[in-house]
């Protein structure tokens, strides 16, 4: 295991990184990008799906990417990176690139580009077994087009297409369990992380960069606009998602589950929900809050049961 890189070290490493971006004040992307790139000891090639992160990170003259990248269409990040990776393998076989030159291939997609329109491309790339990291930044809705529901949007959240009101209490369906769906592909490494727990996130990134084959990392990425909270609270919102066990930090490495963080005191999910405008209509709807709490509890307990077990 590689040592965990310290925040100071990371700051130094990323000193060279262009710091420009045009995200909304308080957006969680800048730190995500910084950690993704800063944690790699190897050159990185990125394929980026359409979405907020791609837009805000590649606008002239504010680009955050000091590496080669291709900005693809919405559903194709995994397919394009598969092509790039296979091409490099061929170039190595043909001796046009040295055999020992390691490059890290990363496909980046939002929740819409991953859970929904990009799911098939992701599944295909996992099945073929390419050597790449799929990085999902999960802001739980289609933010770039103005906050529509995705299948990552939590039960009860209000979006413009699951509007809380007379007919609905927000989204009716539960979120897809993307980690479980990906894990069912039995790839070497699947993990869930949060920007609030950067040490854990960097550790996971660095682990992923060393493993051969497909890797999948899902990072919660709170969105000021879409979730509705104060600009300064981004990290706190992410932290609460973890502390309430709505967003457990865990990983499945070669089939073995490991819960990476167990809150000393598991906070009620309400503490997270009611800090966000998108759940504000739940205020007073104790029935729904209870339902949400129940679902969180069930999943958390299931996770604790699996902790340490090898499932494939």
């Amino acid at each position: 295991m590689k040592r965990i890189i310290s925040l100071k070290e990371l700051a130094e490493r990323t000193a060279g990184l262009a710091s420009g971006h045009r995200a909304c004040a308080g957006c969680s992307f800048p730190s995500i990008i910084r950690m993704v790139l800063g944690s790699s000891d190897y050159p990185v090639v990125v394929s980026n799906a359409t979405g907020c992160l791609e837009v805000v990170s590649t606008i002239y003259p504010y680009s955050s990417w000091p590496c080669s990248w291709i900005h693809v269409a919405f559903e194709n990040a995994a397919a394009v990176i598969s092509g790039v990776e296979s091409a490099y393998k061929a170039l190595k076989r043909r001796g046009e690139i040295p055999q020992d030159k390691k490059i890290v291939f990363i496909a980046i997609g939002g929740d819409g580009g991953t859970y929904d329109i990009g799911l098939q491309a992701l599944s295909g790339a996992l099945e073929r077994g390419h050597d790449f990291l799929y990085l999902l930044y999960d802001n739980q809705a289609y933010m770039n087009t103005g906050i529509q529901r995705s299948s990552a949007t939590p039960f009860g959240a209000s979006t413009t297409t699951s509007p809380a009101g007379k007919y609905l209490f927000g989204k009716v369906q539960d979120r897809k369990e993307i980690i479980e769906i990906v894990a069912a592909h039995r790839i070497p490494y699947v993990a869930q992380a949060s920007i609030s727990h950067w040490g854990d996130l960097i550790k996971k990134l660095r682990k992923a960069y060393e493993i051969e084959g497909p890797k999948f990392l899902s990072v919660i990425a709170p969105c000021v606009i879409g979730w509705g909270y104060k600009e300064s609270e981004t990290v706190e919102i992410a932290r609460l998602a973890v502390e309430t066990c709505f967003w457990p930090l865990y990983e499945i490495e070669k089939g073995v589950y490991r819960v990476n963080y167990k809150p000393k005191e598991k906070l009620p999910v309400k503490a997270w929900l009611l800090k966000q405008e998108r759940f504000s209509h739940l205020n007073g709807r104790e029935d729904l809050i209870e339902e949400i709490q129940k679902r969180v509890d069930e999943k958390w307990e299931k996770l604790l049961r699996l902790d340490g077990l090898k499932v494939f």
């Binding site: 837009v55 590649t58 590496c67 394009v80 092509g83 296979s86 490099y88 170039l91 073929r128």
Partner: protein, 583 residues
């Protein structure tokens, strides 16, 4: 007189060996020095559905399957019913004596009702051997040396179980014997000079063309009638250090190729019908991000699932115009295996020179049917023209001079240098958004105007690099026939016949639809009666060409849309009808 042109149809059910028998006969005739054209007519992979193979052989190079057939072997009553009408007077029909023929009235043909199945059952206990027995029968009737057919048979069965090969040889013998008993009049088939020609389908030619062009990345999704390219390259590309990948769908298969091209490999994808619909989004992307890419598209009869195993020229509109936005592309249209090879080669050069997608528009009649050709048009002088590529030295200069590499640098000819991710000295940024020269999103539209103009400037010179239309006949002829793709053979024979009757005809075969040689076509068609033949119901080719002449009165459509290519006589008849009625 010995026969110099012969055509045979073998008709039965999928899986009953008709196709194999036909192929062996075709290959034997090729070895005998004939040019062979074959037309496969099959429904799907599933066994038991009607299928047939027509082969026509001629000592001169031919491109068409002709009008009639000389001989028919019908393994099923339905096959007899459907095809007997195509046999010319004096031709030959072989059927199984077990048919109930009460309602069948043979034409003026040699009609042999013989115990094919019975012999197969008696000697081999499997009816499937009827195909090789029938082949032997035909061998005798055509006076083809027993050994000739036997050699091809053995060649085709290579790798099979010894016992099976032996049984087949015996079946062939039985066929010859049977024919001796029955055949009243034998044909005498000529022998040609060159027995070493190639016998290739369009799909094979494209796959070979890709390998010869230095294509080292191929990703596709199976779809009739282009799947054979995937199967061929899955088998052979690894030999050349290349990669063939079957993806989970067409969207990914074009996007993987885009990724590989971005990484620096020559990349291709192949598809047909609905598959191309799914690729249009990425086509638009390749055009915008300026990614060299070759797309091979073999048309089948549509719309939607349509008749997926039969030919058409129904995707002209789609191939020329699909993809949202101003999508630049080049569209080449081969007619033969040679052109399938040659245009594939050209396609890669054009794609890289102009950094855009190039589509090879073929069709089932070309892609899956084999033809004899003299040579694969390959020689060592053919260059892989990779266009403006950033050399490692150029890349390193960016490091020294501190400038940043501009993937989309504005150039007079619209073409910027292509660097590759991983090259020392440069960061390579490709973008599907409108962009700055460095490849960043041009959110404030500072560069939009310039970038659009750059992409348009690229298109200006392509016309010099694409195949010109083939013109056949005299410029003075007052009628001109226009067509593409599989219509070549029928057009040629129709024009010859019409000219024999002094109709005054020439033909123009368009070989590149985009860019289009508008001036050339305009000057060749001015003041002439124009006949446009095409395999669709919407007159797609005619509508497209009408930008050249508007509502010119004397332009006539000849359309066919039942899944088969034109026959010469169909064109001749329809042209005569039109001339009589409308001119």
């Amino acid at each position: 007189m010995k026969i110099k042109d012969v055509s045979v149809r073998i008709a039965g059910l999928a899986g009953d060996g008709s196709l194999l028998a036909g192929e062996i006969l075709a290959f034997t005739l090729k070895r005998r020095g004939f040019y062979v054209v074959s037309v496969k007519d099959f429904p799907s992979n599933i066994r038991g559905l009607p299928t047939n193979l027509t082969i026509r052989a001629n000592l001169e190079r031919i491109y068409s399957w002709g009008d009639h057939i000389d001989s028919l072997i019908a393994f099923e009553p339905s096959a007899l019913k459907n095809h007997a009408g195509d046999v010319r007077n004096g031709g030959l029909i072989v059927v199984d004596e077990e048919f109930d023929l009460k309602n069948f009235q043979p034409n003026d043909v040699y009609f042999y009702s013989v115990p094919l199945r019975k012999i197969a059952r008696d000697l081999f206990r499997r009816e499937i051997f009827k195909n090789v027995i029938a082949l032997g029968f035909l061998g005798h009737a055509f006076n083809i040396g027993h050994d000739e057919l036997r050699n091809t048979l053995i060649f085709y069965l290579k790798g099979k179980d010894e016992k099976i090969i032996e049984a087949n040889i015996k079946a062939l013998d039985e066929g010859y014997k049977l024919a001796e008993k029955f055949v009243k009049e034998r044909y005498e088939i000529e022998r040609g000079s060159d027995s070493n020609r190639y016998y290739l389908s369009g799909n094979e030619a494209v796959a070979l063309g890709a390998i010869a062009s230095g294509c080292r990345f191929f990703s596709a999704y199976p779809i009739t009638p282009s799947t054979e390219v995937l199967e061929f390259l899955a088998k052979y590309l690894p030999k050349y250090g290349g990669v063939t990948i079957q993806c989970e769908d067409e969207i990914s298969s074009i996007n993987m190729a885009i990724g590989a091209s971005f990484a620096g490999l020559r990349a291709m994808t192949a598809t047909s019908g609905p598959g191309m619909d799914l690729k249009t989004e990425a086509l638009s992307l390749a055009s915008m991000a300026e990614i060299p890419l070759v797309i091979y598209h073999a048309q089948r009869a549509g719309p939607s699932t349509g008749i997926p195993t039969k030919t058409s020229q129904e995707d002209i509109n789609h191939i020329l115009f699909a993809g949202h936005g101003d999508v630049s592309r080049v569209v080449l249209v081969p007619s033969t295996p040679e052109e399938s090879f040659e245009f594939t080669f050209k396609a890669f050069n054009i794609a890289e020179k102009y950094q855009l997608p190039v589509i090879i528009l073929s069709e089932q009649a070309i892609s899956q049917n084999q033809q004899t050709i003299d040579n694969i048009p390959y020689n060592e002088n053919l260059d892989w023209e990779r266009g403006k590529i950033l050399t490692d030295e150029m890349a390193l200069q960016y490091l020294t001079n501190g400038k940043s590499y501009q993937r989309y640098e504005i150039k007079d000819d619209g073409i910027s240098f292509r660097g590759f991710p991983g090259q020392r000295g440069v960061i390579v940024r490709y973008n599907s958004n409108e962009k700055t020269p460095d490849g960043f999103i041009d959110e404030e539209c500072e560069y939009r105007d310039e970038m659009v103009k750059k992409r348009i400037r690229k298109l200006e010179n392509i016309i010099n690099d694409i195949p010109v239309p083939e013109f056949y006949g005299k410029e003075s002829a007052k009628n001109i026939l226009i067509g593409i793709g599989s219509s070549l053979g029928a057009m040629k024979e129709a024009v010859d016949r019409l000219n024999e009757e002094n109709y005054g005809f020439s033909y123009l075969r368009i070989r590149s639809l985009l860019p289009l040689h508008e001036d050339h076509i305009y000057s060749l068609t001015k003041d002439k009666n124009v006949f446009i033949c095409e395999l669709n119901s919407f007159s797609q080719l005619r509508s497209y060409l009408s930008r050249i002449w508007g509502r010119k009165k004397n332009v006539f459509s000849i359309r066919k849309y039942i899944g088969l290519p034109f026959k010469p006589l169909e064109l001749v008849k329809e042209i005569k009808r039109i001339i009589k009625k409308e001119i």
